[in-house]
């Protein structure tokens, strides 16, 4: 069952289209990563998801029902920037959250703060950016929420605490809860997320299970004797998502049947053919900036 269903979400600010026709199905008991360059529309999507911004069009359903105030008992949110009150202490933030949410676990909050080495008696204004993020993460994970929406939850954290946050996310999914998070650190997404969506310029450009995306997508590169080679319809193959031709070199991004395509290139006269694996970073770069991505992948020479 899907915990969150986003259908044809569109958000326009003046003449700027921040989110354009995004549809997502976020399943329960999973970690769902949202990737995208700066200004791609990830945060706006989250804000629309939580009713912080009104969608221009489209629908958002939680367990099949529209968002209503009571739904927030089930949702914990960590924004990308600190929204804590500088003049309050960390302990007062814990108390504020305890009073607002019935399922809040006070003891768990203090355990998590201890894990991040944060003294609850300190005022927020004296905390570093990373410590503020850690406080927000601790409050969110102590909520016992069924859905966690985390916008850059590791921003400013040191590598040890980043690892803690990833573990917390995976544990929540293991408990049957849904975790939706965005991050610029693709390695983290690859480590934690089972499913990803890539948003670029407000549009959903890629979505799927991480394993499927990695397993099926490959670059097939062929080097021809001269620049006059013909492809005999290979580029029109439904499995070829994109072809880049640079003088004697042809690079094909394929979604399936890489070895079959490689054989076809050989048959077409290619002198050397290589099949290159893609990691999530390659897939992301290809999705948001295809020309740069394929050049970069070949330059790294990750031959299999």
């Amino acid at each position: 069952m899907n915990d969150i269903t986003i259908s044809h979400l569109r958000k326009v600010y003046g003449t700027t289209v921040a989110v354009d026709d995004v549809s997502l199905e976020i399943p329960s008991a999973s970690v769902f990563g949202v990737l995208g360059p700066n200004g791609a529309g990830k945060t706006t999507t989250f804000k629309c998801l939580l009713g912080l911004a009104r969608p221009t069009s489209g629908t958002i359903l939680f367990g099949g029902k529209p968002l209503e105030p009571a739904t927030f008992e089930r949702i914990a949110y960590v924004p990308e920037r600190s929204v804590l009150y500088d003049w309050m202490t960390v302990a007062e933030h814990v108390e504020m959250t305890r009073r607002a949410f019935t399922s809040f676990d006070h003891k768990r909050a203090h355990e998590l703060l201890g894990m991040f080495h944060i003294d609850p008696r300190r005022r927020v204004r004296v905390l570093s950016k990373g410590m503020k993020t850690a406080v927000m993460v601790a409050l969110a994970f102590a909520r016992n929420a069924e859905i966690l929406v985390l916008d850059e939850p590791t921003g400013g954290l040191d590598p040890i605490n980043q690892r803690h946050v990833l573990s917390l996310m995976i544990n929540e999914a293991a408990k049957g809860n849904s975790v939706v998070f965005s991050s610029h650190q693709i390695g983290q997404v690859e480590r934690a997320a089972e499913q990803i969506a890539v948003i670029d310029c407000g549009r959903l450009v890629l979505e799927g299970l991480v394993d499927d995306l990695k397993g099926d997508r490959k670059i097939v590169e062929g080097i021809f004797p001269d620049t006059t080679f013909t492809l005999d319809g290979i580029a029109n193959d439904a499995r070829v998502a994109r072809s880049d031709r640079t003088e004697r070199i042809l690079r094909l991004m394929v979604t399936a049947g890489a070895n079959d395509i490689a054989a076809k290139l050989t048959a077409a006269g290619a002198m050397g053919v290589r099949v290159l694996d893609l990691n999530l970073e390659d897939i992301f770069l290809y999705a948001v900036s295809p020309a740069t991505a394929t050049t970069d992948i070949v330059a790294k020479g990750t031959t299999s």
Binding site: K47, L50, G51, L52, A53, R54, P69, A70, T71, F72, E73, I75, Y77, P79, V83, L84, Y85, M88, E92, E95, M96, R99, A100, F101
Partner: protein, 337 residues
């Protein structure tokens, strides 16, 4: 749900309590300083005239009566010292020597009445008359308006960087906003109450006050409660609309209200002055503080404290509070992060 607002109120009331405690402390210092002058014996010692006979008697109710008599001066003074219940002084003296401008005076708890009988004048001084609540409310109103001004951005403060906290709580936006405003209202009322209590304590250091809640005093209490709340609601609506400029709005509010008030007093001698006066007058009509005055000017230029228009002015204050508050809540419901 509005824990943050509770904390703000707590901090605010703490500051108010500290300021009022300083006033009480100053009153204690004053009380100690004047202690030696507060008994009739000290007065007698200070102003003793060789021809005056002094006698003391304790009345059955414990009142210490001191009688001063000067036959040569035709002066007879009776001082009844009732301790914390104040003093009752009756001075009988020749009319030729008596003050002529103190027929009837009320200053705080001190009441002076003068009556003439032929060549003699009797002046009665009561130091424990009833204290008009009007005085208390004047101070309470001042404190409440200042605190109301400080608090009047509960929603704008959330808009300015905390929307993700306040809008992801399991309550409707309207309930959150009404809750925040409601807590601030309690804070403003608490400020008024603290001020009245502090003033009472200050007076108690000298005598047991007997407060007068009747007539104009009842009206002063009602207006003293309603006007700071209406002022707060006006600023609350303004700050919610102008959200990130809320600090500027709060800082400029009272000075602007003062300037507009002064401009309404401009003599309308020429077209420009008339235009400024009329513009300021129209603007001032939107300001709840314009309706506070308890004085009613008469045609002969004097000022009285009749209940003229009080019902209308009080209703306007309540209406301002409701309308401005509703505008703030309405705006809050449309805010986006």
């Amino acid at each position: 749900m509005n824990y943050v607002e509770w904390l703000r109120i707590r901090n605010c009331l703490r500051v108010v309590a500290i300021i009022l405690a300083i006033f009480v402390l100053l009153a204690v210092v004053l009380r100690v300083s004047v202690a030696r002058y507060m008994s009739p014996d000290a007065w007698i010692e200070h102003f003793h005239d060789p021809g005056t006979t002094v006698s003391h008697v304790v009345l059955p109710d414990g009142t210490k009566r001191t009688i001063l008599d000067n036959a040569a001066e035709q002066t007879h003074v009776v001082i009844d010292d009732r301790g914390q219940q104040g003093k009752h002084i009756v001075v009988t003296e020749p009319t030729a020597r008596a003050h002529t401008d103190t027929k009837h005076v009320n200053v705080g708890s001190i009441q002076v009445q003068e009556s003439r009988h032929g060549s003699l004048t009797t002046t009665t001084i009561d130091t424990n008359g009833s204290v008009p609540m009007l005085y208390y409310m004047a101070f309470a109103d001042l404190f409440a308006i200042v605190i109301g001004t400080f608090l009047a951005a509960p929603l704008a403060r959330e808009i300015d960087g905390h929307l993700e906290v306040s809008l992801t709580k399991p309550v409707s936006r309207a309930r959150f906003a009404v809750g925040a405003i409601g807590i601030d209202v309690l804070g403003i009322l608490g400020t008024s109450l603290l001020t009245v209590v502090a003033l009472y304590i200050c007076q108690l250091l000298f005598e047991t006050p007997s407060l007068d809640f009747s007539g104009i005093n009842a009206r002063a209490i009602a207006m003293g409660i309603a006007s700071p709340l209406a002022w707060y609601a006006l600023l609350c609506a303004l700050t919610t609309w102008l959200n990130r400029s809320w600090i500027g709005v709060l800082a400029a509010a009272l000075p602007i209200a003062g300037v507009v008030g002064i401009l309404t007093l401009l003599p309308t001698q020429n077209v420009i002055a008339l235009f400024i006066h009329d513009t300021a007058w129209v603007i001032s009509r939107l300001n709840p503080l314009s309706y506070v005055s308890m004085a009613v000017p008469s045609d002969d230029g004097t000022v009285s404290y009749r209940p003229d228009n009080f019902g209308l002015r009080f209703t306007l204050e309540v209406m301002f509070f409701v309308v401005y508050g509703a505008i703030a809540v309405w705006r809050w419901q449309r805010v986006e992060a």
